[in-house]
Every structure is written in C-alpha cells, then in structure tokens.
Amino acid sequence: MLTVIVYGLAIGAIYAATALVYNVMYSTSKVLSVTTGHIPMLGGVFGAYFIAGLGLPILVGLAGAIAVGVLFNLLTEIVAVRRVLARSDEHLWLLSTLAVATMISQVMALWWGTEPKPFPRLIPQEFAQGIGDQKYWLPVLAAAVCAGSLELFYRRTMYGKLFIATSEDAFAARARGINTDRVRALSYMLSGALGGLAGFAAGQLTFAFFALGFALTLNGFIAIAVGGLGSNLGAVIGGLALGMMSSFATYLFGGEYQQTVAIGILILVLVIKPEGLFGSKQVRPV
C-alpha cells in the first residue's frame, strides 16, 4: 500500500516537472509545445547512454542530459516556434511542434531502439529497496529542485522578472526595450534544462524509453489542465494528484486502466472547470 503512494508521488513528480516545463515555455511564447514530454525522455535516454553506454562518470552524464535538454528545446524554439509565431495563423505552432515531436520520437526509436532500456544506478544502493529506493525519491527531489529554482528565479533574479514581464504583456515588454525573442529563447533553454534534469532523475523509474515522449506530453498536459495553465503551484499539485490517482487506479483495477483513468480525470476537469484548479479565465477582446 505504501508502495502505491510512493510510486504515485514519484510518477506524479515527473508529471509535475513536465507541467512546469509547459508553463515556462508557455509563459514567454504562448505556445504549448507537443515536444514538451520529449525533453525528459531525452534526459533519460541520454543519461543512460552517457553513463551506461559510454561509461562516463555520473555527474558528466547528468550534465550531458541537461545539455541535451537545453539544446533540443532551443532547437525546437528556433525551428518550430520562432518562425511560426511571426505568421498570423494561430495554430501553426501546434503543427510544427507536432512535426518535431514526431521526428525526434522516430529518431530515438531508430537509434536507441523501441524497447525500454534500464537506467544505471546513480547512488550506491542495493536494488529493490522498497519504498526507500532512489528510483522513487530521485524524481521527487528533481521536481522539488525544478519548482524551487523556478520560484527563486522568478522572484529574485532580473531575468526572472523579464520572463514575467514578457509573459504578462509581450507587446508592452517589447515597447520597453525587452528583446522578447531572446527572452523566449532563454526560457526554452531553461525549461529544456529542467526537463532534462527531471528525465535523468526519473530514468530508473521510467527506464530509458523512446515512447515516454508522447506519454509525458499527454500526461504533463493533463497535469496542466488539472492544475491550471500558467500556475506553477497548479502544475505541481496537478502532477502529484495525477500521479497518485494513476497509481491507485493501477493498484485497484490493474495496469491496463492507467491511462484510461488519467484521461477520465482530464475530461472531468475540462468539463467542470476548464481553466483548472488555479488557472484564470481569460477574457478575449475583439
């Protein structure tokens, strides 16, 4: 029973981290990227590749995974978001990020393989530690680091304030001389780092698996929908709630109902309170 809770927290932490990544990217670009879930996926895959495959030290592997996250998301920004935002068509970015997500997914499937591969042990610990196993608390730690560092970033640093200004009113921010293109690129890099870190930390739980990309895109989105887009608190709570409910659903009904339950929650929230627990209704002027 305790395992169910701990598992739920751990998987919820990954969802929460993905949701945070969504938020950061959305705040400066108003884009919800289909590639979001692929960042942690890459963090996990490359973490395994660097450490287990290439035999590099763990910290190098960690840095590498973060770097891959940063690079991938920056690339996404340049290729799929920047040019597309310049055009007037509202949903073109959905198509372009969908395209990039498909491509990276397939590349990983071809290069890394379609089977989930084990992720190396990061901290000396016997296998099968039960609820104390690092595969459970590493993701939780990573999510806490992501959430905490974002809070500090937004409140205490200049760049954080720039991000907030850009997200509240990009037009006004530009008028004040803020280079919104650069802010956006930086926010994508930051969120790429966070996603890579989260994926790396979660590797032992999720395994290094190419299919994690779309799965996290969907589940991270459910976390956002539940918690409310734009709210980091909502992202964390939504993610943890989703993780717990999935875990209990698996425990009660079996693993074959995991996604069904998660999506059921999504539909319920979208029907009852589409802006999520902590989201705000948006007035759309003509």
């Binding site: 949903h91 395209a99 498909t102 397939q106 989105f221 459910i222 074959e256 539909i267």
Partner: protein
Amino acid sequence: MTDRSHILRPVALLAGVAFLVLLPFLVRDQYQLHLAQLIGVYWILIAGLNLVVGYSGQLSVGHVGLLAVGAYAFAILTGRYDVSPVLALGASGALGGLCGLVLGLPSLRLPGFYFAMVTLAFAVIINEQSVAQTELTGGGVGLPAQGFSAPFASPQGFYWLVLGISALVTWLTWNVAHKMWGRAIIAVRDSEVAARSVGISVYRAKLIVFVFSGVTAGIAGALFASLQTYITPDTFVFELGLFFFTCIIIGGRGSILGPFIGTVVLTALPEVVAPLAKLGNFFYGLLLLIVVLLIPEGFGRLLTQAMTRLKPQAAESKVVAPDPARLKAALGTRAGNG
C-alpha cells in the same frame, strides 16, 4: 463556390474516374490492388476528417481511435454475432458517429491545443481498452474480421465497394465544402469572430462536422478490418492518426483534391521508395514541418495558384465605386423585418 470552369476540369475528372474504375485490370499484381484498396479505405476516413481539420480547423490527431472503433465493431458483429457484413458496415458507421459525438461534445469548446490533446487521449483510451477488454476484443491477440459476400467477395469486387463508398463520401464532402455550410465552417476556421457575427453557432457547426467525420471513420474502420482480415491493438497506434492528419495538412486545408493526392502519395510512397519505409514517421514529420514552415497552405493551394497563373489576367481595378440606386434596390426586399 465561385470557381471558374476550365475545359480541363471535366475531361480530367472523366479520365480520373475511368482510371479508378478500371484500375483492377490495370494493376500488375494483388499487392498493388491491395495498396489501392488501402488508399481507398484511408481516404474514406480522411475525406470526412478533412472537413474537420481542413475546413473547420479543428486539429484532431486522434481519429485513429474512431477507425479502431469501427474496425472492432465490424469484427465483433460479423465474428461473434454473425451479423451480415453490410449491416455491420452500417452499424460501424453509426457507432463511429456516436463516439464522435461523445468525444466532440466536451472537447470542441476547448482551445486548439487542448482539443488536440483530448483527441490524442481518446486514441490512447481506445488503444488501452482494446488491450484490456480481452473478452470483447481479444486483447493483445486481436480478432479476425470477415470478408464481404458476393459480389464484394473477390479482391476486385471489394475494390469496387471501397471505390463506390469513397466516391460517395467524396461527393458528400465536396457538396458541403462548396455551399453555404462550407463557407460557414471555413469561417469557423479562419475567423470565429466573423462566423459569430453572421449568426453561426460555432460549437454546433464544429460538432455536426465532427460527428460526420466519426461516421466516415467508422465505415472506414469496418472496411479496414475486412481488408486486413485480422486486427490487433497494434494496428491502431497514434502514429496512424498522425498520418491521417498529415495527409490533410500536406495536401492543403480548404481543398478536397489536395488531401486526396496527399493520401495517395503518402500511402504509396513508403511502398515505392523502400528507404522511406524504414524512416517511417520521421518522413511524415519532416514533410509536415517543411509544409508548415514553407508552404502552410499545403501543396493543394500551390496547385490552384499555379492554375490561376496560367490564365490571362486582365488589369485589375481597385477602386470602390458605389451604386446607390442599385444598393437601394438590393435592400428593397426588407419591409422593416429584422
């Protein structure tokens, strides 16, 4: 709509129809005929989906779920309950429409990304449940699906069945696209503000079109099952839904012919160009990205633009010159009724 009539058009149309009807005699082997049948089946779904994605602008990436519903319904009805294939075909269409309604009701009010994710989620649920409900669906092992009885039993016969239904669905969607409903859903896509300002109920329009696409997806699913003779959950993966969606975007939104050509090309290409088959979805993703970045209107639009360039253009006036008398007359039939 107000398109110019080319001399080219009726001739091309006739030639095309003749080719399609005679195709079973023109292909070299069973494999090519099978490919043609597959294209036809896909097109039945894509033609309906085209109204949703290409015309009303609702980015549904999860229609593979509706295909699966139709396929499993057909396999179960004909297999377990001995329903005749033709009846099962109709039932699959109806069930597809019903699922379209259930999916569309909560989701069509949501903004674009949310809607896309919900359709993705729907496909995931259908997939998960087709594995989980082993009693009904045979679980991971899957189900066999029956063929049709004469005259559709032979490959040629089945091909003509698929051709006939494709032609009907194409005709239906063509009609919708070129009359007031077409204008209305294009308005829903390009300017909801304009749509509402002329009295269109945007949600209702989206829903009706979506349900229609559910019916065509259900029918396509039934035919797909019969064609493949055996279905498993693995057949109906998310990537297939992405494929349908990509055919439309690449072919061009706001066109019937564009997505049709897109379907033919994207289905046939991996079969013809072997290295592409290995790349699989990477290829579709790359094409999608290229189209979005360089030719967002799709190849279909390029075609129509090229055709208009072939015609001699008269010098175009740009001066607005009202005709008050004519305007008054045009307003005349009002008598103060609002």
